[in-house]
C-alpha cells in the first residue's frame, strides 16, 4: 500500500512539474509582445476547433439546401452560402479549423521528435550513422517535395493519418541538419567532456546533456514548422489531394475557385478560408519568432522571419523544409556544403 502511494505521489509530482513548466512557458510567452497575439489567436482557433459543433450554426456537410444556394452574407448566414451546394460558409470555416490545427500541431511535434533523434544521433555518434543520415537528408532535399508528396498520397491513400506520416517522413531533414550542427558544437563543450570522462554512457549524455542543449531550438522550430505544414496542407487540399471526406480550408478555396466565386463576385467565399489560413499561420509564426527572441536575445532587433520562412510563398514546401536550416541564427559557422541559408545578420 505504501509503495503504491509512493508511486502515485511521484507520478503526481512529475505531472505537477510538467504542468507548471508548461504554464510558466505560456506565461513567459504571454509577456512577450509578439507571443501575446499568437497565443490569443491560437486559443480562439483551438476553441473553434474543439467546440465546432456548438459554435457552427449549421451542419457544414449538409449539401441538400437547394433553396439557400449562393446567398450573400447576412445575419442568418454570417458568411453566406456556397453557390454549388448551399453549404453555410461560416460553419465550414469553423470545421476547417480542426483539420488545419490538428495536422499542423501533430506534424510539427512529430517532426521535432524525428528531427531531434536523427540530428542528435548524427551529430553525437558520428561515423557511419552520421554518414547514412546525412546522405538520406541530401537525397530527400534533392527530390522535388510537392510532386513526391502527390505520388505518395496517391499510393498510400488520402487519409489524414497518411498525409501526416508523409509530411513527417519528408519534413525532418532540415531540422535534423540544424540540430546536428548544434550538437557538433555542444559535443566539444566542457561539461560534455567532463561527463564523458566520468564514464557516463552515450545515451545518458545524449539525453541528459545534449537534448537540453538543443531543446530551445526544437521548441522554436516546432512552432515554425507547424505554420509551414499548415500552408502545405492547405496547398495539398487545394489541389484536391487532401482527405476528400473532411472540410479543410484549402479544399474550401478550391471549391470556391471551381464553384464560380470569382466569376460571380462572391469575395467572402474566398476571403474566409484564406484569412483562416493566414491567421493560423501568422500566429504560429509570431510564437516562433517570440520564442526565438526569448531564447536568443542577440537577435532581437532584426526580423529573421525571412530566414526561416524564406520563399514559403512561391517555391512552396521544398523551401519550407530547406529553410529550416537556420544555423546562422545560432551563430554557428557551418561548412559550406551544409550551408543553404542567407548569412547576413545584425
Amino acid at each position: 500500500m505504501k509503495t503504491i502511494l509512493k508511486i502515485l505521489n511521484k507520478i503526481g509530482t512529475v505531472l505537477k512539474n510538467i504542468f507548471l513548466s508548461i504554464w510558466n512557458f505560456i506565461l513567459k510567452l504571454w509577456k512577450h509582445p509578439k507571443g501575446k497575439i499568437g497565443i490569443i489567436v491560437i486559443s480562439l482557433l483551438a476553441i473553434c476547433a474543439i467546440f465546432a459543433p456548438l459554435i457552427a450554426p449549421y451542419d457544414p456537410y449538409d449539401v441538400t439546401q437547394r433553396a439557400a444556394k449562393g446567398l450573400a452574407p447576412s445575419w442568418e448566414h454570417l458568411l453566406g452560402t456556397t453557390i454549388t451546394t448551399g453549404q453555410d460558409i461560416f460553419s465550414m470555416l469553423i470545421y476547417g479549423t480542426r483539420v488545419s490545427l490538428v495536422i499542423g500541431l501533430v506534424t510539427g511535434i512529430s517532426i521535432a521528435f524525428v528531427g531531434a533523434i536523427m540530428g542528435i544521433l548524427a551529430g553525437y555518434i558520428g561515423g557511419v550513422v552520421d554518414n547514412i543520415i546525412m546522405r538520406v537528408v541530401d537525397i530527400l532535399l534533392v527530390i522535388p517535395t510537392l510532386p513526391l508528396i502527390i505520388v505518395l498520397t496517391n499510393i498510400f491513400g488520402k487519409t489524414y493519418l497518411m498525409i501526416i506520416v508523409i509530411f513527417v517522413a519528408l519534413g525532418w531533414t532540415g531540422l535534423a541538419r540544424v540540430i546536428r550542427s548544434l550538437v557538433l558544437v555542444l559535443k566539444n563543450a566542457n561539461y560534455v567532456k567532463a561527463s564523458e570522462l566520468a564514464g557516463a554512457s552515450r545515451w545518458h549524455i545524449m539525453i541528459k546533456h545534449i537534448l537540453p542543449g538543443v531543446s530551445h531550438l526544437l521548441i522554436m522550430s516546432t512552432a515554425l514548422s507547424c505554420a509551414g505544414i499548415m500552408v502545405a496542407e492547405a496547398g495539398l487540399s487545394f489541389l484536391g489531394l487532401g482527405d476528400p471526406t473532411a472540410i479543410s480550408w484549402g479544399k474550401m478555396l478550391a471549391e470556391a475557385q471551381s464553384g464560380g466565386a470569382l466569376l460571380f463576385g462572391h469575395w467572402w467565399w474566398i476571403m474566409a478560408p484564406g484569412i483562416g489560413i493566414f491567421l493560423a499561420v501568422f500566429s504560429f509564426m509570431r510564437i516562433g519568432l517570440a520564442l526565438e527572441e526569448m531564447f536568443n536575445p542577440r537577435m532581437k532587433q532584426s526580423n529573421n522571419m525571412y530566414k526561416i520562412f524564406k520563399h514559403l510563398n512561391n517555391t512552396y514546401l521544398n523551401e519550407v523544409f530547406n529553410s529550416m536550416n537556420n544555423e546562422e541564427l545560432l551563430g554557428i559557422q557551418v561548412p559550406l556544403t551544409e550551408q543553404t541559408n542567407l548569412k547576413g545578420e545584425n
Binding site: 499510393i155 489541389l239 501568422f282
Partner: protein, 332 residues
C-alpha cells in the same frame, strides 16, 4: 579551389543521382498492381480472351512482361541513352518530348519571377538597409511579416478576383490556345505576357519581400565592417561606398539563396500553374498523376531532381570560387 574537391563533389552528385533514379523507379511502382489493367479497363463487348491478348500486348509494348529487376535494368539502359521512355497517353508520345513541350512555359513563369524578385528585392533591401530605422525599413519589415504568412495560391486567387474579374486588367485564366498558336509574332508575345502577368505577380510578391529582407540584413552586416568605415573616411561618395564596397560584399549570401531558387525553378509552381490553368511542368505532373501515367511521372520527377542536383553542384562550386575565405568540402 582544389581539384580534388571538384572531383569529389561531382562523384557525390553522381551518387545522389543514382539513388534518386532508383527511388524514382520503385516508388511509383508501389501503387500499381498491373499497369495493363489500368491502361485497359475491362469494357465494351470484348471477350475474355481478346481482353487478355490486348493486356499482354500492352505489357509487351511498355516492357512490363519481364521481371521488375529486369525492368529496372532496361530503365537504366534507356536512361544511359537519354531516353525517358514513352507515356501511356494515346499515341504513346515520348516523355522527353512532352517535357520539352512544357518546359519553356514553366520557365517563362519561374525565370521571370526569379529575375523580378531578385532585382526588385535587392533594390528594396539595399534601400531599406541604407535608410535603416526610417519608414522604408519599417515598411519592409511589416510587409515581410504579412507576406510570409500568406500562401501564394491565396494571393493568386485575390489577384485574379480584383485584377482579373473586377478591373479586367489581365485575363483571369490562361487562354488554352495560347501555346498551340504561339509563333514568335509580336501579338503572340503580348498575349503570353498578359496571360503570364497574374501568375508572375502572385509568385513574385513573396520572393521580392524575402530577397529584400535577405539583402537588407546582409547589407547591414557588411556596413558594420571596418573597411566600409575606411572607405567613408577616405571621403568616397555615399553612392560609391554603397555600390562598390557594400553591395559587392553583401552579394555573397544572395548567391547562396539564388542557388536554392534556381534548383526550384522547374518544380516550384505546381499550384500557381493549376490555378491559372497554365500548361507547364506542374500541370503536366498533375495530369500524369491523375491518369496513373507513371513513365511520365517518373520522367518528370527524375528531370526535376537532376536539375536540382546540377544546380546545387554549380552553386557549391561557384560559391567556393566567389568566396575563397571559406574552406569547403570538409565535413566535421
Amino acid at each position: 579551389m582544389k581539384k580534388s574537391f571538384i572531383i569529389k563533389r561531382i562523384f557525390y552528385a553522381i551518387f545522389v543521382f543514382i539513388v534518386v533514379m532508383t527511388l524514382n523507379f520503385f516508388i511509383p511502382r508501389l501503387g500499381v498492381d498491373d499497369p495493363a489493367e489500368r491502361y485497359y479497363p475491362p469494357q465494351g463487348n470484348l471477350s475474355e480472351i481478346e481482353y487478355e491478348i490486348i493486356k499482354q500486348a500492352t505489357r509487351e509494348q511498355y516492357g512490363f512482361d519481364v521481371s521488375t529487376f529486369q525492368q529496372y535494368l532496361n530503365y537504366v539502359e534507356k536512361l544511359l541513352n537519354f531516353d525517358l521512355g514513352t507515356s501511356f497517353r494515346s499515341g504513346s508520345p515520348r516523355v522527353s518530348d512532352l517535357i520539352a513541350e512544357r518546359l519553356p512555359w514553366t520557365l517563362v513563369l519561374s525565370v521571370t519571377n526569379l529575375i523580378i524578385s531578385l532585382f526588385l528585392g535587392i533594390t528594396i533591401g539595399a534601400i531599406a538597409a541604407w535608410r535603416r530605422g526610417r519608414w522604408q525599413d519599417t515598411l519592409l519589415l511589416n510587409a515581410s511579416t504579412f507576406t510570409t504568412a500568406l500562401p501564394a495560391f491565396f494571393i493568386a486567387l485575390i489577384l485574379t478576383f480584383y485584377l482579373g474579374f473586377e478591373l479586367e486588367l489581365f485575363p483571369a485564366y490562361t487562354n488554352p490556345n495560347m501555346i498551340s498558336q504561339f509563333d514568335w509574332s509580336w501579338d503572340a508575345i503580348m498575349v503570353v505576357a498578359s496571360n503570364a502577368a497574374l501568375p508572375i505577380i502572385s509568385m513574385s510578391i513573396g520572393g521580392i519581400i524575402s530577397y529584400g529582407q535577405g539583402t537588407r540584413n546582409s547589407v547591414i552586416a557588411v556596413t558594420n565592417e571596418d573597411f566600409i568605415l575606411t572607405a567613408r573616411a577616405k571621403g568616397l561618395s555615399p553612392n560609391t561606398v554603397l555600390y562598390k564596397h557594400t553591395l559587392r560584399n553583401a552579394m555573397l549570401p544572395i548567391v547562396t539563396s539564388l542557388g536554392m531558387s534556381i534548383s526550384g525553378l522547374i518544380g516550384g509552381a505546381v499550384i500557381i500553374e493549376q490555378i491559372f490553368n497554365w500548361n507547364g511542368m506542374g500541370t503536366l505532373f498533375l495530369e500524369a498523376n491523375s491518369s496513373n501515367d507513371y513513365p511520365l511521372m517518373m520522367g518528370i520527377m527524375l528531370f526535376m531532381s537532376s536539375f536540382a542536383i546540377v544546380a546545387n553542384l554549380v552553386t557549391e562550386l561557384c560559391y567556393s570560387l566567389l568566396d575563397p575565405r571559406i574552406t569547403v568540402g570538409e565535413r566535421r
